[in-house]
């Protein structure tokens, strides 16, 4: 078990070495978002902006027009919430090459409670034209996605987490933006997941197997652009779909999948995510259980979705 934010810190440092145009900004959360190693090695390319996220994001936009590749870092709540309109108008609209990299997303924030648990950030970012949205499932994917995001030209929101999560991939795994990864193959139901729920989905698939159900598990690490080809193929193959995310069921991965399948290949779907509610203080694992986004919830939903097949 390792934290995605730690992988981000390692990848950012390497990016700093690989490309002199990479710069990093933070808003008084350098320790938490793991920009420390980068700041130490490249003090002149690191900008501490204080507790001022909207300004940080607009400053990053300006830097990108001067040829830099800025990584603006903070918690998901503040990078996508406080700074939303900066992202929309100053970065999304002119399609500037800025990376909004945020840790502490979803219920995974834990004890700090609802004020800090962004359960809307995927929705907020994916409704902005030109903005690519990526979600890290584990350590290796956070590392791989950070590298892919840096190489991609254009605005990107990269969603990372605070707690340690199960390792799904081997270190060194390559990630391509917009290309989902199939982790398990099965014909009965397709579990489309992102973030910590990818690891949960793998566990759920093991459980389902014991009940004689063969599930596909797919990591849709890119919410936008959504890998429509893979999604439709899975829906056709399995005839039932589960989405699973540490996010509100409204507007996130579930919303994106539903919009796409409604248009291309209507399929029964069950949505695992928070049910239009705020979180609360507590241990992340306990929260994921209480709010119905854990292994057992995926198993139950998979059975329901299969039963709903015509």
């Amino acid at each position: 078990m390792r934290a995605t934010r730690d992988a981000f810190g390692v990848a950012l440092l390497e990016l700093g070495r690989e490309n002199p145009n990479v710069v990093a900004l933070t808003a008084d959360l350098g320790g938490s978002v793991k920009t420390g190693a980068f700041a130490k090695e490249f003090p002149d390319r690191f900008f501490q902006m204080g507790v001022a996220e909207a300004n940080m994001v607009d400053v990053a936009a300006g830097m990108s027009t001067a040829g830099k590749i800025p990584f603006a870092t903070t918690f998901a709540m503040f990078g996508t919430g406080r700074a939303w309109e900066s992202v929309r108008n100053t970065i999304g609209y002119p399609a500037l090459n800025v990376k909004i990299a945020c840790t502490h997303s979803g219920l995974g924030v834990g004890e700090d409670g609802a004020s800090h648990q962004s359960l809307e950030d995927i929705a907020l970012m994916r409704v902005i034209p030109n903005v690519t949205v990526c979600v890290a499932a584990d350590y290796a994917s956070a590392y791989g996605l950070t590298k892919a995001v840096a190489a991609h030209k254009g605005p990107v929101y990269l969603r990372l987490g605070r707690p340690k999560v199960v390792d799904v991939y081997k270190d060194g795994e390559k990630f391509e933006i917009g290309k989902a990864k199939i982790i398990r193959e099965g014909n009965d139901v397709a579990i489309i997941a992102c973030g910590p729920q990818v690891g949960f989905a793998v566990e759920a698939a093991d459980e389902l197997k014991k009940a004689g159900i063969n599930a596909t598990v797919a990591d849709f690490h890119t919410i936008k652009p959504l890998d429509e080809e893979t999604l439709v193929a899975l829906a056709k193959k399995c005839g039932a779909v589960i989405t699973a995310e540490d996010h509100n069921v409204l507007g996130g991965l579930g919303g994106a999948v539903a919009e796409t399948l409604a248009r291309t290949h209507p399929t029964p779907i069950r949505f695992i995510g928070t049910q239009d509610t705020f979180g609360e203080s507590g241990d992340p694992d306990a929260l994921w259980r209480k709010y119905g986004v854990h292994v057992a919830d995926i198993v139950k939903a998979a059975k329901e979705a299969i039963a709903a097949k015509a």
Partner: protein
């Protein structure tokens, strides 16, 4: 029971009483955070003396058994992360049973990691995301005045917090509207998460900035009871403009190892051994 609001006259005896209250509150803060295993001790301890003077010095007209009493004064904690001290105060004043302090930050708790007005009586606004509380507090002040109620709003904020744009928008509006029923108390501990404020994002000359934004501005030692009570009395008496009290405090005040390491105790909780050391120093 409605608490009559009348600024305390500070005598050797009343000061000793206030200090004893602050000591008890600090003990509750340490116990609460050690149990919770996470949370923010530095600012909570640093603001214990200011909170004590507010709630025991006669500056908050309130009724703990009727938290929604319309004639009450308001305390808004814009730097919501230091809520352990607010929770200790509210429990001690009788807003809820002391047992609630035991579950801080646990699943299902009344006391959230950051203040939630919908879960905790005595909390006037849900905060935690920095910058909002002071704006909401100004809204309360403007509405109260428009309703012709003689109440006062105390908005507490952190010095790191005012790096956000929102507080300055509120400061501008407060002086534009001559909100003299509105006082901001800035916890000037020169500390935030990544370092000292002057290293992270320099704020000085803060008093001049507040004056330029139209505030009657007072700089005090936030651990000196005569100065705290004097400034609060002056804030209430000031007409025609809002008041800013810049309270110089020491992060972790009362616990030697926290005082020494300053900002490192912004959001770190002491382990069992260090918590015991802190409680011993506080005479628990």
């Amino acid at each position: 029971m409605q608490v009559e609001e009348q600024a305390m006259k500070l005598t050797a005896e009343s000061e000793a009483e206030l200090k004893e209250t602050a000591r008890k509150l600090r003990i509750e803060v340490i116990k609460m955070l050690a149990r919770a295993g996470s949370g923010h001790p530095g600012g909570s301890l640093g603001m214990a003396d200011v909170f004590t003077c507010l709630y025991w010095g006669g500056f908050v007209k309130h009724d703990p058994k009727n938290p929604g009493w319309v004639e009450r004064d308001r305390v808004v904690l814009s730097n919501g992360h230091i809520c352990p001290i607010l929770y200790a105060v509210l429990a001690e004043r009788g807003y809820f049973p002391h047992e609630w302090l035991d579950d801080l930050r646990q699943l299902g708790a009344h006391l959230q990691g950051h203040p939630a007005m919908q879960k905790t009586p005595g909390v006037e606004l849900s905060t935690g995301s920095l910058g909002h509380g002071v704006c909401g507090g100004l809204g309360m002040a403007l509405a109260e005045r428009q309703s012709k109620r003689d109440t006062h709003v105390w908005a507490l904020l952190g010095d790191g917090e005012i790096e956000e744009g929102l507080p300055w928008e509120a400061f501008m509006a407060a002086s534009h509207y001559k909100a003299d029923n509105f006082t901001v108390i800035i916890d000037r501990n020169d500390a935030q998460i990544d370092g000292t404020t002057e290293d992270v994002m320099s704020l000085e000359p803060l008093d001049k900035k507040m004056e330029a934004f139209g505030f009657h501005t007072l700089v005090i030692d936030g651990h000196d009871y005569a100065q705290i009570i004097g400034a609060m009395s002056e804030a209430k008496a000031t007409k025609g403009k809002p008041t800013a009290i810049i309270a110089k405090t020491i992060m972790g005040k009362g616990v030697s190892y926290m005082e020494k390491d300053g900002y490192k105790w912004h959001g770190n909780t002491p382990n069992k051994e260090l918590a015991e050391k802190a409680l011993k120093e506080l005479g628990a």
